[in-house]
Amino acid sequence: MAERLTLARQIEEDTAKRRLQRLGAAACEPAWVSLWAAALGLPNGTPGAWLLCTKEMRRALLLVGTELPTQVEEPSSALNIDNGLPPTPEALNRLWLWERIGTPRHWRIQVLDSTPTPIWLPCWLGYARGRQHRLLVISGLSGEPMPMLKPIVLKGLQQAYRNGPESETKSSGASERREKAV
């Protein structure tokens, strides 16, 4: 299996705090979610975007860029949520097919390499207090809210809670949901 790449966190703490504050959060913390990335591009061309998904996702995240914005350092000290197995090549191609059917402009773009690369996606978690506690997840790359990652993150948080603080760098959660753009 390929080495897991770590995407560089581009939304710094102050920006993340401001964005989460606007969404109603009263507290925040960084986290990392493990996903699988497949390159998208014109046939025989260079990648222009990346599909990010896990085995059970029915719709993938879309990360635009010719290269994955990686960093050398591995994620540390924050909460790491591992989502297990990669999607099959067939599943990846099918995920992209439905995106193309819905947006004919993307028809020429194909999955370039069906063997996905494992990645750590940076996120910021916000906690809102009202009648109930609420979780908010925003991307550490764009700062956009990603409600579809909530089920994955919630499972990861639950696992970390059960296992105690030492498990925070290796919590597992099955992925059920998908996001449109990162």
Binding site: L20, A27, C28, L62, Q132, M148, Y161
Partner: protein
């Protein structure tokens, strides 16, 4: 009366060619696949919102609303007065759930909640309803072409159908957001110029318009009658129109598709906000043109055309300076093409995803599905064309398109609301509710003298109540089936987890939530619009 001059024809062809050139240039510039994705992201949110508006309704608004205003003044604005309230429901309830569920077509949510039969039936209802409404959208530019050329409208329907289908099959250019924005401004410019030319042609100018409008009750936008047979009472607009627009914007795949494709929930909200704020003023503008046209026709002793949809196109062609008429008519064409492209595209996508790939060819190649989607586009284009031949008999196109939706969408919305709000409801109840909801709408329309605006309310009420009661006769759904519509963090164990994490996370202080602020803004806008209409009516009635 200059008519549609050669110069107008040159401008019309030039404008359409320019739009096509921009589209092809845009495609050629996309050597790097990154451009395909980044193209839309460099564009400000307001432009994306305007392009959504242009795609939704601009051509039929331009053609249909003045006829509506000519006939009934501002009273029909109540049909749209509820739009800000409908947008609040979309922003708070439907969009977050659709976005979180990560679905391509919204009918998938119903499969996960109620099973494949509910998905299939709701997707089928969408195809039938949207296909019919697309016929009306096709009729609009065909009528304009008939007015301009003097050809039979049946011939121009065929010409427009061939153009629209070819355009969509070739990929369309609706992705070029700036051309949609330009079209929107061209149409608004056309509306403002129409007002200018009309008012300056009246001896008393604005005074004549206000005197005529007040004397003939055209500014009576608010009818407080509780009689359900009064089509455009305030209550019909608030109660019926509200469900009409929640259903239209929330359960019609062709409308919600762009929202689902938005990069984030906040972007999706932004495009809904633009519609929430601009739809009422836009409708007011075009209805007001109808009032001014009525004044103009009365003062000049003219006989209105039999089909009131022809009113504004005829005026533009006859009164606008040479070249300007060509530009405005071209704007109508381009806007109609954008709407048709979007509608045919969503019809084709739902056909392939919800039917063809599930029941006919589950594991075909990508190329096969592309071919199937093109065939589906042609099929729905022909279906819409057949209906377009009858659209001229349905009155103002803007009312026709909403009436068609009202036959189907109430029950559809009821099924979605049942899925979201009743965690006891199940597949049996959903199907029973959907079918009885549809029949109840038809029964009420046929048997009772009741405003068509209430159709959606009836559909929602019957499908939800029957759906809930029938659900009690079968086992409750599993937790897995409820996962899309339940807040996962609401479970007591998750609350404990979140409380513990929040206590250990960095405190950032609380600010008013963006979504809440946006919804309060929409509600304030609704109150302001209603207040202004009440003031106008008060003034008109002394």
């Amino acid at each position: 009366m200059e008519g549609f001059t050669l110069f107008d024809t040159v401008v019309l062809i030039g404008y359409i060619s320019l739009i096509a050139w921009i589209g092809s240039r845009f495609s050629k510039d996309q050597h790097n696949p990154e451009d395909y994705f980044l193209g839309g992201r460099k564009i400000p949110g307001w432009a994306i919102g305007l392009s959504v508006m242009a795609t939704q309704a601009s051509a039929i608004t331009f053609i249909g609303a003045p006829g509506w205003g000519f006939e009934g003044g501002l009273e029909r604005l109540v049909t749209f007065i509820n739009v800000p309230l409908a947008m609040i429901v979309l922003i708070l309830v439907l969009v977050p759930i659709f976005h979180r569920a990560g679905i391509y077509s919204i009918y998938e949510l119903l499969e996960r909640r109620f099973g494949p039969a509910t998905r299939t039936l709701t997707a089928l209802l969408f195809l039938i309803a949207r296909g019919l409404a697309t016929g009306v959208v096709l009729y609009a530019p065909a009528l304009v072409l008939a007015v301009v050329t003097g050809w039979s409208v049946n011939l121009t329907i065929i010409i427009m159908a061939v153009l629209a289908i070819s355009y969509t099959v070739m990929g369309g250019i609706s992705a070029v957001i700036w051309t949609d924005v330009v079209q929107m401004f061209v149409l608004w410019l056309g509306a403002l110029l129409s007002i200018f030319f009309l008012v300056t042609s009246l001896p008393g100018g604005w005074g004549d318009v206000f005197d005529f409008g007040a004397a003939s009750g055209m500014f009576n936008a608010i009818d407080l009658s509780f009689d359900p047979s009064v089509t455009y009472s305030l209550w019909a607009g608030l109660l019926g129109g509200f469900f009409l627009h929640v259903a239209y914007f929330g359960t019609d795949q062709s409308q919600i598709q762009r929202v689902l494709s938005s990069p984030s929930v906040l972007d999706a909200q932004r495009s809904l906000l633009i519609g929430g704020y601009l739809l009422i003023p836009q409708m007011l503008l075009f209805l007001f043109i109808g009032v001014i046209l009525a004044t103009y026709y009365q003062q000049h002793g003219l006989t209105p055309p039999e089909d009131l949809n022809e009113l504004l196109p005829r005026y533009v062609v006859s009164a606008f300076p040479s070249g300007m008429a060509g530009l405005v008519i071209a704007g109508v064409f381009a806007a109609a093409m954008s709407s048709l492209d979007s509608a045919l595209n969503s019809l084709s996508a739902v056909t392939v995803r919800d039917f063809y790939s599930r029941y006919i060819k589950p594991n075909a190649s990508d190329a096969h599905y592309l071919k199937a989607s093109r065939m589906a586009t042609i099929f729905w284009g022909l279906y819409a064309t057949l209906f377009a031949f009858f659209a001229g008999n349905l009155g103002p196109v803007i009312e026709a398109v909403n009436q068609i939706g009202s036959w189907f969408y109430g029950a559809l919305l009821g099924t979605f609301l049942l899925a979201i709000f009743s965690h006891r409801s199940n597949a049996r109840g959903a199907m029973a509710g959907l079918i009885t909801g549809m029949f109840s709408v038809w029964a009420v329309s046929a048997l009772l003298d009741i405003s068509w605006l209430y159709n959606n309310t009836v559909g929602v009420a019957v499908s939800m109540s029957v759906g809930y009661l029938v659900s009690l006769t079968a086992p409750a759904p599993s937790q897995d089936q409820l996962s899309d519509v339940m807040m996962a963090e609401a479970a007591p164990d998750m609350q404990a987890v979140l409380a513990a994490r929040a206590d250990n996370a960095q405190v950032i202080g609380q600010e008013a939530r963006l979504t809440r602020r946006r919804c309060i803004g929409l509600f304030a806008w609704f109150c302001l619009m209603l207040g202004m209409l009440a003031l106008l009516q008060g003034w008109a009635n002394g």
